[in-house]
Assembly symmetry: C2
């Protein structure tokens, strides 16, 4: 036999379903007495309202979708962890969707999610499918970009300040005496901003920016290990390398190991994201930390605001990163 409905409660309490509905939703005015009676009966019957039915009346489903390329990438797993945690606080469940960075998966997901009437969408990836994105915006579908931006589109976002982050990474290295600093970057907007920050720090320190010290790599550790060759196997090898995310920096670490280059004695390495991997590798990786918990909280707040009242003004929030210094960076050895 199935769960009791609002009718069962109403009957048992000798009132109408409207009255019961009112006590459930805390709307209208009902005497303390009936309220209590109804509440007691709901407990006795172990009644719990059917969210599906109330969603049919235009109410929330209390579900937010979170789109990411790949959870097995630790940075996305950490995003998800905190997004879920923050959602939980407000009674929202998170529907997790992997996109693999494929435009068709993205649009298929969006279609399904809309059919399922999720209340909102948080996108934490490049999102290749610009057309779909634009349509979502036109429809005023509650949508927030997380850890990623789309400056050309009127869409709210919550991100870390990548520019400052890149600046901090480079400054740290410069302060240790390094003057030839290589960069391993991904082909992404945030990498570009991180590079701009790096360049700014160099310039400020009176150092020349050398384009050939900036190399682009695929996203995986092994891609990065390969790409690092371009930096490590040259005559004028840099004395420090900034990996635009931890995976890339770890690739550099592995490339060094393969070549017998000692980190940090012969080469300093810094990452970005400050994932849990940093304390697992050896030497432990210095990295720029995103304030993920705060970012997530802000994102959930923002999307709930958008869900609850359609015409919330759109914002872009940028938060400041912090540096976590560990073992992979050190003072430049005197030549």
């Amino acid at each position: 036999m199935s769960s009791p409905t609002i009718y069962d409660v109403a009957r048992a309490a000798g009132v109408s379903t409207a009255t019961v509905s009112k006590v459930i939703n805390n709307t209208g005015r009902i005497s303390a007495k009936t309220r209590e009676k109804i509440q007691r009966i709901m407990e006795d019957l172990n009644y719990s309202p059917n969210v599906i039915a109330s969603a049919m009346k235009g109410k929330s489903t209390y579900q937010i979708a979170f789109l990411i390329p790949d959870v097995s990438n630790p940075i996305y797993a950490e995003y998800l962890k905190h997004i879920e945690e923050s959602g939980q606080e407000f009674g929202y469940n998170i529907v997790m969707c992997s996109t693999d960075n494929q435009a068709d998966k993205e649009s298929r997901h969006i279609t399904l999610l809309k059919q399922r009437r999720v209340d909102g969408l948080i996108i934490a990836s490049k999102f290749n499918n610009a057309a779909v994105l634009r349509q979502l915006i036109d429809e005023k579908f509650p949508l927030v970009l997380f850890a990623h931006e789309r400056p050309e589109l009127p869409v709210p976002s919550v991100t870390v300040d990548d520019y400052i982050g890149g600046y901090m990474a480079a400054s740290h290295l410069i302060s240790l005496g390094h003057r030839r600093i290589g960069v391993l970057a991904e082909d992404s907007l945030s990498s570009k901003d991180r590079i701009r920050g790096y360049q700014c720090a160099l310039t400020e320190a009176g150092l020349a920016v050398q384009e050939n010290l900036i190399v682009v790599s695929g996203p995986s550790v092994s891609d990065s290990e390969m790409a690092a060759a371009n930096l490590l196997d040259r005559e004028d090898r840099p004395t420090a390398i900034f990996g635009c995310n931890d995976l890339l920096a770890i690739g550099v670490l592995q490339a060094c190991r393969a070549r017998g280059i000692r980190v940090p004695d012969q080469l300093s390495v810094i990452g970005f994201d400050d994932t849990q991997l940093c304390s697992i590798v050896s030497p432990k990786l210095t990295s720029i930390a995103q304030p993920i918990r705060k970012l997530s909280k802000e994102t959930i707040d923002m999307i709930i605001r958008m869900i609850e009242q359609a015409d919330t003004p759109k914002q872009r929030i940028k938060m400041l990163p912090e540096i976590s210094i560990r073992e992979s960076t050190a003072k430049l050895a005197q030549a």
Copy 2:
């Protein structure tokens, strides 16, 4: 303006909603002509059926909840990745719920998930809340335990064969000449099975099982690093250690580094789960691999069967692990 409904389609096609519903669901009999016409109109209108409304008529919500303690633990992230992937194949979305191993979070989640009418539940954790579990079973709520068992309860599960896995780990070490093999375990059922397998391998090889070589640790890398002291700082230090999961094994690696013990020259280390961490640490970790992709596929198949027809016989499936040999295990050096 909101999305078109089945009424809009019916009106445009000059038929009843019943007919439209039939073509959507491929039920009843309708002439090829009307079918085509309706399909064309649905496309024109960019109509997509409201899953919420059809769920109200007792149909699926196409949502499956996946409960795990913590996504930021890479093994759970990998589970999630593959569960989501397999779900996607059948049009199911995954609602991800963190439990933090807390009984009250578990039960709160279950309550909400039931209100939201998710079709089924996959639980990949200890699940402390036995009462709730029992109730779910009584209600015949579609439920599968993943990578974890509950032998005393009539509940289906899909797991790796931990016993064999432990046996394989120990056998590998024994075949390399090790005779004093320590174990670092978690306080969990699967660790216990892995230990039993280890003991069996020892006994078979004519080696005595020494209880004091088996030490229990907390779940994190740093817990394990602490606990490893009990094995590493004794006179008769083992020559090999089996970490009952990769995180524990990595803790051992770190403890070794702190003590200047060279792996694998002075100590062999083997893990379990074969997460991506294995190729990130140094030396790369030998580990026992779960066939996660197959496990996930099987789990999704099973739960969908349970969703679609209530009285599916319950099964417990156990799959065989495989060993991935990397750099952390080596022949015992002659004394």
